[in-house]
Symmetry: C2
Subunit: 339 residues, 2 copies
DNA sequence: CTGAAAGCGCTAACAA
DNA sequence: TTGTTAGCGCTTTCAG
């Protein structure tokens, strides 16, 4: 028969009694702090293992005024993008004593405030959160928390402490350059209608600005609500082309709907990239096996996670101006004419 | 100019002084506990808001011996499946005071132990973790923790407290029935080579057993390492059919590689579902917009998350026998012959 | 309805 | 190298 389930959680005192040394010595052994003789060390370790003791970080955190938690606050988990950022963070934190704790806002500012409040109440030693736009209340909480704040994904704005990301405005402009250089002129845009997705908004602004500089205007736009899927990409592509059949390029605010559009255009027998060019955003590797490779931009999300984590972990110093700018990479794939 | 960043985190005492009442009264207001006059309540709330006070749960947890955290331990975040389970958990926890804290094991038992140790050191009020297979050490920690343990995804085994999930063995057998009933006989299997993915293993076992009962054996198998992608699905499909061109059905251990295989078969001009049938597993809605809908099984992962969360939150009582069995749904799509 | 005292389990700081 | 003492910031409990 297996041992009975415990009724009372173990404390340091239990280990201390079992090992015949003071609680303080047990504490030192378990944290690898201070000098302890090999013999007592062994005794303590054995006792702790035998009992199945797990230290109480609640008590430890209160006593030491240090908590090895990093709050990570992101808009969504279903987007593929943020799990990857998380992957970068967690990989870089793995060889430190810090643990990430994740909160999800669903792109809602009020929920961001709530999540922030909940996380800060654990007195983490740092915060990594997406975007530079926060509510006044959120900003106040961050200021009052007096801990390092790393804002990720976006650098178009004023960071609280440090921002790690790409310029989405710039990324939009770069895509405009690619599109124009490839000779496309009648350009349509398909993206989410999300006032709170500031990064998508900035990309679109950058795109339009650069187009305007070259005397080109967006010929059509199609917005949608809710999550992105292949199906949605198909539907929107069909709709925009029904309205404006003469478009020669479609720019999608993400790869998922872009891929849906690509599949639809292929089924219609359209000549890609000559008759029409397509591009998405984010370089979702998931889609690598499609019949054609969608043109896209790698937003460097794993690197963003890593750099942000390195900074909170103190492996890397934050720059003077508070901005860590990464350079997005345009990946032409098969859906834009080669120059 | 914005207010300076704080240097010292605020405490109850700060609010107490600002509001001119005892710390105890502040505590009561902030937790909505005990009777407080509307007037003092208002004073306290105003003071707390003005200062930007965020309660310290580390201290609170220690004092009250209660921590409103639920540890959620899953194998992976890049799988699409687990973020959805998480979604279900988080949705159901939203109207309680509990917060999920997520740990990722990467399908490694030793890492599961480490994550478990880290999470239990926060003294959560419950644990939700994937699978019924745990190390001896992990089992010991869970026993010693003396908190509710909900094992999710799988019910083929002996739960510690409660298991919420589907029978993968049974799901495999059901798929065998569907395949045989549709008239396929030369069946190939493509799946990950993951000794630690017990659920995929049990599905395969269930499939083979049922096939054997009907006098059919798997005609070919192809295993792969690492993550699943469309590209991998293509490659493996090509490989298995090169070896065994006469296969008339391919069963994939997940939808992602299944979809890759589907795209490849379509490009080869194969007649689906007559010449060859295909099925995946998991009903990943992401893939909904493909040219044909892959046959698949909905493993009820959102429901699994919800039910598990309801039980830890005490919204629902755990059954006597510790097993909450959900029924997976087979979705024929377009890639299996209709009877 | 409000307040005072004690202590949660651990660690910082100091003493031996 | 080991032990002792005094809190960390809150909540429990009890008194008013």
């Amino acid at each position: 028969m297996s041992p009975k389930r415990a009724h009372r959680p173990l404390t340091l005192r239990d280990v201390s009694e079992a090992a015949g040394v003071s609680e303080m010595t047990v504490s030192r052994v378990l944290r690898n702090r201070g000098d302890v003789s090999a013999a007592t060390r062994e005794k303590v370790l054995t006792a702790a293992r035998t009992l199945g003791y797990v230290p109480n970080q609640i008590a430890g955190g209160l006593a030491s005024q240090r908590v090895n938690l990093v709050a990570v606050i992101i808009p969504s988990l279903s987007n593929m993008v943020f799990p990857e950022v998380l992957g970068g963070i967690s990989a870089e934190l793995d060889d430190t004593s810090l643990q990430p704790v994740v909160g999800v806002t669903n792109y809602s500012p009020s929920r961001e405030d709530q999540v922030l409040y909940d996380m800060l109440s654990w007195r983490p030693s740092g915060v990594i959160l997406a975007g530079l736009e926060h509510s006044k209340a959120g900003r106040a909480m961050l200021d009052a928390a007096a801990i390092p704040v790393i804002e990720i994904m976006d650098i178009d704005g004023e960071p609280i402490d440090t921002a790690v990301g790409i310029s989405h405005r710039r990324a939009g402009a770069d895509i405009a350059d690619e599109i124009l250089a490839a000779g496309y002129r009648r350009i349509g845009f398909i993206g989410t209608h999300m006032p709170e997705d500031h990064r998508a908004r900035k990309r679109l602004a950058g795109l339009e600005e650069r187009l305007a500089e070259q005397g080109v205007q967006l010929a059509a736009r199609e917005y949608y609500q809710g999550g992105s899927s292949l199906a949605k990409g198909r539907e929107l592509t069909q709709r925009i082309l029904a309205r404006q059949p003469d478009l020669d390029f479609l720019y999608y605010s993400n790869d998922m709907i872009g891929a849906g559009g690509l599949l639809w255009c292929m089924e219609q027998g359209m000549d890609i990239p000559n008759q029409i060019g397509l591009a998405g955003f984010n370089a979702v590797e998931l889609l690598d096996g499609l019949p054609m490779r969608l043109a896209t931009t790698d937003a460097r999300r794993i690197d963003i996670g890593r750099r942000a984590a390195r900074i909170v972990a103190g492996k890397e110093e934050a720059p003077e101006d508070g901005i860590v700018a990464l350079t997005p990479t345009f990946i032409p794939g098969d859906t834009i004419r080669r120059r």
